[in-house]
């Protein structure tokens, strides 16, 4: 091993930089992980149940079995992510010990702490966290998140919440950019975010970490729309392996993410994919079943 420094902010954020322009796919078996890698996923999220099944089956959703995570790590060469419950720092310690490449502190699982998120600075493994708005994203970054994904509403196949959250984050960034220096103090108070991070966003016009979109992406056009709205890449959860032809859909979403601004390519890859996941309209979900409202 080399004498270099591991676990630095630059190294943690750096892996997310390398995932940009790519698709991260939820997988529940090594076989699905293989399909995802062969289709061109930049990383996989290893979990026991995709969000659509967590939603359908109910109950408390927790970190996946280490055997499953290790089997998926053994199957693929691309980075493997896994989810810990919000605030469950011991699940995160376990995932770090399993040598996963990224930990997702995720609202898709049942929260373990309704007050505190994990202190992510104390880990060598980088974290990705969900956010519905800029203030939430900056609070997670302040806690050490090395990557942000807008939340959307996982397990629905309804992209409307993903659209809402990525638009919210990018429009709040644009507002900061237009502010004078003295206005940023109040902006930080209203965003409930650290002043220094607010100033950084105002100056650079972007988050200090990579921003992906998640939650309800089910088609190549959904993925391309998220990219046009300013996402650096997309997570696809239930949308691939709950569809009629996962291999073809996965490859199509990858191509549409790269050629997000080319409708001819998106049209071409959208042909003959079979059924998309059936999905649930977010408006039909009672408030307690909306995962995006977990986390604060």
């Amino acid at each position: 091993m080399s004498t270099g420094q591991t676990g630095s902010s630059r190294v943690k954020r750096g892996l997310a930089e390398m995932l940009k322009g790519g698709v991260i796919m939820d997988v529940v078996t090594p076989e699905q992980a293989r399909i995802a890698e062969d289709a061109g996923a930049v990383a996989v999220m290893a979990l026991e149940r995709v969000p659509a099944d967590i939603r359908a089956q109910g109950g408390v959703a927790r970190m996946s079995d280490p055997d499953l995570i290790e089997a998926i790590i053994a199957e693929v060469s691309i980075p493997v992510m896994a989810k810990a419950r919000i605030g469950h720092f011991v699940e995160a310690q376990v995932l770090q010990a399993l040598d996963v490449d990224y930990i997702d502190e995720s609202e898709v699982l049942s929260p373990a702490d309704y007050v505190n998120h994990i202190d992510k600075w104390s880990f060598e493994t980088p974290f990705v966290c969900g956010a519905t708005n800029l203030g939430e994203a900056l609070r997670r970054i302040n806690e050490g998140a090395a990557m942000i994904r807008s939340k959307g509403e996982a397990g629905t196949g309804d992209v409307s919440e993903a659209t809402k959250h990525i638009r919210k984050i990018t429009s709040e960034i644009n507002v900061l950019r237009s502010m004078t220096k003295d206005e940023l103090y109040v902006a930080a108070k209203e965003l409930q975010a650290p002043y220094d991070l607010v100033v950084e966003v105002a100056e650079t016009g972007k988050l200090p970490v990579v921003l992906f979109t998640a939650g309800g992406v089910a088609t190549p056009a959904d993925a391309a729309m998220m990219m046009q709205l300013g996402a650096d890449g997309v997570f696809v959860g239930s949308g691939i392996f709950k569809s009629g032809n996962p291999e073809a859909r996965a490859a199509a979403v990858v191509k549409a993410t790269t050629f997000y601004d080319d409708p001819a390519v998106i049209a071409d890859v959208s042909r003959g994919l079979g059924e998309a996941m059936v999905g649930i309209n977010v408006g039909d979900l009672a408030a307690p079943h909306r995962l995006a409202e977990r986390g604060w």
């Binding site: 080399s2 630059r10 190294v11 790519g22 709205l229 300013g230």
Partner: protein
């Protein structure tokens, strides 16, 4: 076409100085915008390359960091792989970082089934040679061809060069002797990411090859 993205450089667009060398950045996936920014600051006319026709008038090409399996698949699916191989054989200067180094290697170890590289560098490269992300690191690295000070090198699940063939030359090695930067003619490859931390000398070195050829 118009999209809602605020970033200025879309595929096919050009940034940088009007008189600079025309340099493309392969933009199928990865941190291509970081490379484009560095190259534009160094005075190159930069364009993003995703299709064969966008390759036509570039005088040099950067292959960024990212996921080599994804770049390989997309490069072949959209007809870029063969023109790229031809351009490399014809002497096009190309600089590859991390996944880009893998793409330029003649032989790739720990590749996935069916993975191909463009080749050009007479080296054997092993993917993810350091292990998982927890083993990713940054360190100072002596690079004699670039002089002092050492290069601050960031390795992200990076590859290493396991053997350097007769036609290639090692440019830098870790303390344990593993080779992490190589060149051969107009090709340069590094296991690490100078584009990530304001280290411009590798890009300058590459642009020197571009200017010398044009």
């Amino acid at each position: 076409m118009t999209t809602l993205r605020s970033e200025s450089l879309a595929a096919g667009e050009v940034a940088g100085e009007a008189s600079g060398p025309r340099v493309g950045v392969l933009a199928l996936q990865g941190d291509f915008r970081e490379h484009a920014r560095v190259l534009a600051q160094l005075g190159a006319r930069v364009s993003l390359v995703r299709r064969p026709d966008e390759l036509a008038d570039v005088e040099g090409l950067v292959i960024p960091g990212g996921e080599s399996t994804v770049m390989d698949k997309l490069a072949r699916a959209y007809g870029l792989a063969e023109p790229l191989k031809a351009a490399i054989a014809d002497g096009l200067p190309v600089y590859g970082t991390c996944a880009g180094l893998i793409m330029l290697a003649d032989t790739v170890l720990d590749a996935i089934a069916g993975q191909e590289s463009l080749g050009g560098l007479d080296v054997v490269v092993r993917r993810n040679a350091f292990g998982s992300q927890n083993q990713s690191f940054e360190t100072d690295l002596g690079v004699p061809a670039l002089g002092e000070p050492p290069v601050h090198a960031v390795f992200i699940r990076g590859p290493v060069v396991e053997s350097v063939g007769a036609d290639a030359t090692a440019l830098a090695s870790l303390d344990d002797g593993r080779v992490v930067a190589v060149e051969q003619g107009n090709l340069v490859g590094t296991s690490f990411h100078p584009e990530m931390n304001g280290e411009y000398r590798f890009h300058e070195y590459f642009l020197g090859k571009v200017r010398a050829r044009s």
